[in-house]
Symmetry: C2
Subunit: 487 residues, 2 copies
């Protein structure tokens, strides 16, 4: 049919554009970003929505323009986020997912994807160390939501009446997490009606790990005030330092005071795939719930975040509302595969196929090798800058494939970004932002920066991009020095 | 490079598989579904995850197997959900989105997509009728989450201290929605610590519309008990009947008692695109927030759900946590484009490009024509079965492109599904499930059924698939009669 041929030709033309973009993204000679300020970018194309249709040729032009100004997140020199890189099998799987265009709520409309989610969650629970992979779980739209699920489950487990009667029926609940934990713990507490003031931040040691003794002290203190400790979120791979909280010691405290133990392994959970590095999460099997985002260190395309739960049936009891138009109890197949009623969402995007197909293609050992390589590159960077003139490690650890470093983070001394120039303390905070702005304007590389506590702006170098090599690490350091030379 | 060539060849092979699947999906000679029971499907392929990698050929086989057992949601005879069909421009946009593989939280990593979200939300607010398209909004992972955002905002607007201090700092809050509203309102209330018992269900009239007088009565009653009414969710297009609550009358009540008015237009919001049908949402411009899912009647690929908010800045104040590693205040560009801190999520999938590119391709008038056609098909079906022997309309309305009908839903009388056989009342409830099971086994079509209140199982026929024609409607009725003939 003519219509069909035209449609397929159009789709193939888009594919050709995408393939050219992919090839370009992996090419070190191209820019990571062709940066323009928002107002400028708004002018550079006609982005407005119109009453009249455009031609298919116009649509192809729009596709090209969109990609021209996009960030090449697959570029071997893109280190800006915890999620970087582009896996071709993962991409193919995502294209298939879009084509299948269905919804995870029932087996009826997503039979294969529901089974693959079942198989994959079970495998992940086995890797966590829960017996026979038993338990529960769900793929959710990101780590923040996975963490919110965990908090919701912990509250429901302790006070199931909260579902019907709300927070006014329960005593004042308090949650605990380290001062370096992800902001989603507080965000979740705000949303769930617990309140951010009921999230107690536990001190970290000099390497960014939660101090279990401080956790215990704060739990006791809370109980003395008549509050009810219900949730501890330990972090496996903190966002800024990449630190791993001591899970065994934390689990002892949780057990002693009968508090739900959650492990936010959104970033570091993937180390469970590596025999060499999984010791950093020793004790994770004692957790009641674990967040683990394969879209970070495992490079699964965005989004792919799992919440794993030790207790079976709890999610269903906590969230189910028995919608009669979706979860009819008189269907002709095994209804335990209609998993939608345990979700907060109604419709749920298919996030599983990317992970499943990549796992199939690499095998567990392929993921392991990929993760080990990230750690190796990180160690290479560590060795390169630890004694380099003009740099200081903000956090002297090598547990995660990310490093934080700065032009001398010691606030009491002058500091230098390159071997050539020195700074007074007050200017130090501006070094990273200026270099970052120049990186974006030149478009050569991208790396993140931030302050933390009393430490002024420093770079956070994250290595999760499977395309990155030792040479790219060298390039990053050279580029920082080149861009900071006149400072 | 060899690696590149191999990769591109693989991707192209996947594309060829996907294109063949698309062509097949639109072909009425193919089955909508090749159904297998869960245990059977688990045996039909090796879905387990292995330690060792598979070859690229194996991966292609896995892709084919996945599609073989998938539901063809694009099939012109797939009427099972509110989201059906597959738009080729939308699909191309989703493939591009996957390839760009980035995150909506900052302008820094998603400059174009952030701008397109800005442009599209503004346009949607203009269509709602808010002056100059002013206001706020976000694309969220589905209507349930959009509705939850609305409830969260309403609570924060009335009691901003709830963010820090939790629900224990506020009086007992109560929300109101019709007894036919979507289950996500209760789910949201449970999650937010409000409790399902604080969601008061307002009566509907015989056509499924909320009765404003009952709403007012229940608000007064709640106030008399010392509760604080904070949120009314009116539904524009209920899930089962497709009814539109009377928004103007509801807005009068909300104004009188100073209660946040939300419109859940997840399904019916798209009628705003049609000059002929938008009167059904008259009064929507008086709402404080509106949920509108372009992934339903506008056939944008899953997921694409917008929450539109009248008040600017509220979302940011409600949800922001100032994460220093993402939302640095010393960046070199206009930070109002870093929209991530107003979200509940941290990472957020790019859902905007599908909608934007489809809008570009169709123009507003293209979406209008598509929606008008759904309504036309629905009217055709209505006329076809309203006087047909053996059928009864459960809800005799034609406002939404979906109809509910049944083999005589009158519980007091015998009923017939086809002109040939009659049933006693007790068997009636089993008619729809049996026919549905047969539909799935034959794979010829799919349509949903459910009970509602005192009405036993009836069919809910939804028309949102742009590929459906008058002949497909005829086919559905013939198929129901064929499959029910021996009952």
């Amino acid at each position: 049919m003519d219509g069909d041929t035209k449609t397929m030709t159009f789709l193939q033309e888009v594919v050709d554009i995408l393939m050219a973009y992919i090839v370009e993204s992996f090419d070190r000679e191209t820019k990571v970003i062709d940066f323009h300020y928002p107002n400028e970018l708004l002018q550079m194309n006609n982005w407005e929505l119109q009453d009249e249709p455009a031609t298919l040729d116009d649509i192809l032009i729009s596709c090209r323009a969109t990609l021209k100004y996009a960030i090449k997140t697959a570029h071997p020199r893109y280190f800006n986020q915890l999620s970087t890189g582009l896996d071709m099998v993962g991409l193919a799987a995502d294209w298939l997912t879009s084509t299948a265009n269905t919804n995870m709520f029932t087996y009826e409309v997503a039979p294969v994807f529901v089974l693959l989610e079942y198989v994959s969650l079970k495998k992940m629970r086995e890797i966590i160390g829960w017996q026979d992979g038993r338990g529960d779980g769900i793929f959710s739209p990101g780590g923040a939501i996975s963490n919110m699920y965990a908090m919701l489950l912990a509250r429901f487990k302790m006070f199931p009446e909260v579902k019907e009667k709300g927070m006014s029926s329960v005593p004042r609940l308090v949650a605990f997490t380290s001062e370096h934990s992800h902001f989603s713990i507080k965000k979740g507490a705000a949303a769930l009606g617990i309140g951010t003031e009921s999230v107690i931040c536990i001190k970290v040691d000099e390497s960014g790990k939660m101090i279990p003794a401080d956790l215990e002290r704060r739990i006791v203190e809370a109980k003395q005030k008549g509050f009810v400790p219900f949730f501890v979120s330990a972090t496996a791979g903190t966002t800024v330092y990449g630190a791993f909280d001591p899970l065994i010691a934390i689990s002892d405290v949780c057990k002693k005071y009968n508090v739900w133990m959650h492990v936010d392994g959104a970033w570091g959970g993937s180390l469970l795939m590596s025999r060499r590095h999984r010791w950093k999460l020793d004790g994770v099997d004692r957790a009641n719930s674990v967040t683990w985002n394969p879209h970070k260190m495992m490079s699964v395309p965005l989004q792919c975040s799992a919440l794993l739960v030790r207790e079976e049936g709890l999610m269903q009891n906590c969230n189910q509302m028995h919608a009669c138009y979706l979860f009819q109890q008189d269907k002709h197949y095994d209804l335990s595969y209609d998993t939608g009623d345990k979700a907060l969402q109604c419709g749920r995007h298919v996030d599983i196929f990317k992970l499943w197909l990549m796992w199939r293609a690499k095998g567990t050992i392929g993921f392991e090798a990929q993760i080990d390589k990230c750690l190796e590159l990180s160690e290479y960077l560590y060795n390169k800058i630890k004694d380099r003139e003009g740099y200081e490690m903000v956090f002297d650890g090598k547990v995660c494939p990310h490093l934080t470093f700065t032009p001398h983070a010691d606030n009491s001394s002058a500091a230098r970004i390159s071997p050539h120039y020195s700074f007074c303390t007050s200017c130090l905070a501006q070094v990273a932002p200026v270099i970052k702005a120049r990186m974006m304007e030149y478009g050569t590389t991208m790396v993140s920066y931030q302050p933390q506590g009393d430490k002024v702006n420093f770079f956070r170098m994250v290595i999760s991009n499977p395309a990155a090599t030792f040479e790219d690490i060298d390039f990053l350091i050279e580029e920082i020095e080149r861009l900071g030379q006149d400072l």
